[in-house]
């Protein structure tokens, strides 16, 4: 089986701070990391490959040359080969153009059985690229995946999270899966030996020329959405701390809540 995982390098949003004076994002010194959801996807992808016993995992990303480090991590996690799609032509891609570019790369890789994505990236949180790739490749998709099992006949049993629980689905390749944090295993960091091995695995860099496809669908030209303004959300007011002992504080809070519209409305 040939498996592909699509990943993204993101700024660690937990480290992003807002400048209190200028109200702009302070990205200085914020480390770039492999999107955590994509980390789960790659690990699950490698687990599936190992379960099947043969096949390969190719990990792809679209991004600047620095995104190499995210791919190296994927290789350390057990992927066999990496493709970095990098070109100025891809700058300004929205989710559609990103999905087009990644789908084009997947087509170029030949016949693919399964595509793994993280459910969303922590910087944009759109959760759109996965399904948009699936649509372009004409593959069925399952999003919000919590758990995957595969049997000897390559039949997949998938737990898909729903708003009030989960569905147990049955599916067969080809398909695209978008993964949540897994419920069946604890994701972890690869040991040093795998990190060292990663350096020796095939690493491809494709520019727009090499990728091929319809150039009008790349980057800004291929994007239908335009960001016209960004700004920091209005901050909430100061927190009013009830400076009282436990019991008195609870009573005071009770008084405040009784005046709250959510309770009055009942």
């Amino acid at each position: 089986m040939k498996l592909v995982a699509c990943v993204k390098q993101v700024p660690d949003t937990t480290e992003v701070k807002v400048d209190p004076k200028t109200h702009t994002l302070v990205r200085d010194g914020v480390p770039s990391i492999l999107n955590p959801y994509d980390h789960y996807a790659v690990e699950e992808c490698v687990r599936i490959k190992e379960k099947i016993g043969d096949g390969s995992v190719i990990v792809i990303t679209m991004g600047p040359p620095q995104a190499r480090s995210a791919l190296m991590k994927c290789l350390a996690l057990g992927a066999d080969e990496a493709v970095l799609i990098s070109d100025k032509a891809f700058a300004g891609s929205d989710t559609f153009a990103t999905a087009y570019t990644l789908a084009q790369a997947i087509r170029k890789l030949g016949s693919i059985d399964m595509v793994f994505c993280g459910q969303q990236a922590i910087d944009g949180d759109t959760a759109q690229v996965g399904p948009e790739i699936a649509q372009q490749l004409g593959m069925p998709q399952v999003t919000y995946v919590e758990k995957i099992e595969i049997d000897d006949k390559h039949k997949l049993t998938i737990h898909k999270q729903t708003e009030d629980g989960y569905h147990i689905l049955e599916a067969k390749a080809p398909l695209l899966l978008a993964l949540l944090p897994p419920t069946s295993f604890q994701p972890g960091n690869p040991p040093m030996s795998r990190i060292l091995k990663a350096k020796k695995k095939p690493f491809n860099i494709w520019d727009a020329e090499k990728l091929g496809g319809d150039k009008s669908k790349f980057g800004l030209d291929g994007s239908f959405t335009q960001v016209i303004k960004t700004y920091t959300p209005p901050s909430r007011g100061e927190c009013e701390i009830i400076e009282k002992e436990g019991k008195e504080a609870a009573k005071k809070l009770g008084e405040i809540l009784l005046k709250h519209e959510a309770l009055i409305k009942r």
Binding site: P31, I33, K73, N189, P191, M192, S193, I195, L196
Partner: protein, 383 residues
């Protein structure tokens, strides 16, 4: 490596207050990440990497653990693991290395005694042959990792005199297990830094060790021990670089925020000049440290001489602790009175790095080595 430190080491360093012994879960975490025994041959479970890679690891560990206890455990295990790997008997390697790599045992180094440090020729501990065994008598002092070896298991690469009349040319290097060994009595001292790893010594009374624990040939121990020390010194240079770089980062964050006389103290030239100087020194230190380890690797491949290694290592180690201490010292100074409190993390690094002007060969000895290489043996100060 950074991610490993962030997820596995940094959260654990918070409880590394004055434990005087490396907690087992940290040794286990290092082992799971396969850091222990990086330079050891794969046939014993190691990764067989070069020592530059070990340098990268130890620099990150030093950034993560301001007390530098974890880097010390790592660099001692790496350096003496390397010596065992290169000079130990097959039997000893099969017995000792896999357990050390899995974090089940530790490997330490024991050369110093109460009255001797760098002047190894004056040591009192003696080793003699008795049938197919050796018998050791004496004492060792100011040794890292004694409590760990006594309690978790493991031992120390130990130097003792075999043929006392020959001085440094009559010494044996051997492996001395500490746990449950009859005749070993541990003692402990409290040093002022690196408080999460034990420091102490042990009395050795009629301790018998099997023949296969001998490392290298008889009477050649003094020369072999230097190879381990050189590796350890190279790694220490990068511990200093890592600890100082981390402190400087803390300092940068602080001087941007802290205000004096209406503006951030980072706006004052007095601070900026120091910041720039320390940055240059730390980068130079990294260059020196990695060059030293690279030379060490080159020598292992026969592409450099022992003299090249001695020079490169001594250069790095001679300045590393001083530059690091001075950088951290200034970072503490910038933080005002807070810098002198136990809450300030940088004081831990300051106390730890201070030890490295002494540990694994004092700075004075490093300078003598550099001078020796420059002037030639006729100018040896100690002869």
């Amino acid at each position: 490596m950074k991610e490993f430190c962030a997820s596995e080491i940094v959260p654990k360093t918070e409880k590394l207050e004055d434990t005087r012994k490396m907690p087992k879960d940290i040794i286990k975490a290092l082992a799971n990440f396969e850091l222990l025994g990086m330079v050891i041959d794969p046939e014993y479970g190691g990764l067989g990497t070069d020592v530059v890679t070990a340098g990268i690891a130890v620099e990150e560990l030093a950034r993560a653990d301001p007390s530098c206890s974890i880097p010390v455990l790592f660099l001692v295990g790496t350096s003496w693991g390397h010596v065992l790997n290169k000079y130990g008997t097959e039997e000893a390697k099969k017995e000792i290395l896999p357990k050390a790599i899995k974090g089940e045992q530790i490997i330490g180094i024991a050369t110093t005694e109460s009255d001797i440090g760098s002047d190894l020729g004056s040591m009192k501990t003696k080793i003699s042959k008795k049938g197919d065994k050796y018998v050791v008598n004496g004492e060792k002092m100011y040794i890292s990792g004694v409590a760990e070896a006594v309690e978790y298991g493991g031992g120390h690469v130990t130097l003792a005199k075999m043929t006392p009349e020959k001085g440094t040319r009559g010494m044996n290097l051997f492996y001395l297990p500490l746990k449950d060994t009859p005749g070993i009595t541990p003692t402990y001292v409290e040093d002022i830094g690196r408080e999460a790893i034990s420091c102490g010594g042990f009395d050795i009374k009629n301790v018998e060790i099997p023949k296969h624990y001998l490392i290298g040939e008889e009477n050649k121990g003094f020369y072999i021990v230097h190879e381990g020390y050189e590796l350890a010194r190279g790694l220490i240079s990068l511990v200093c670089a890592g600890a100082a770089a981390k402190a400087l980062e803390n300092g940068i964050a602080y001087i941007k925020e802290r205000k004096a006389f209406g503006r951030p103290i980072g706006k004052y030239e007095g601070i900026q000049f120091k910041l720039a100087e320390h940055h240059v020194r730390i980068q130079a230190l990294r260059d020196l440290g990695y060059k030293a380890l690279w030379t060490f690797d080159q020598e292992l491949q026969g592409k450099a001489s022992r003299f090249d290694v001695s020079m490169a290592i001594a250069m790095a180690k001679s300045v590393a602790p001083f530059w690091a201490v001075e950088a951290i010292d200034d970072v503490m100074q910038w933080q005002g009175a807070f810098g002198y409190t136990k809450e300030c993390q940088d004081q831990k690094a300051w106390r730890a790095v201070r030890s490295f002007t002494l540990a694994e060969g004092s700075s004075e000895i490093m300078k003598l080595i550099i001078a020796r290489e420059l002037l030639g043996k006729d100018f040896l100060a100690y002869r």
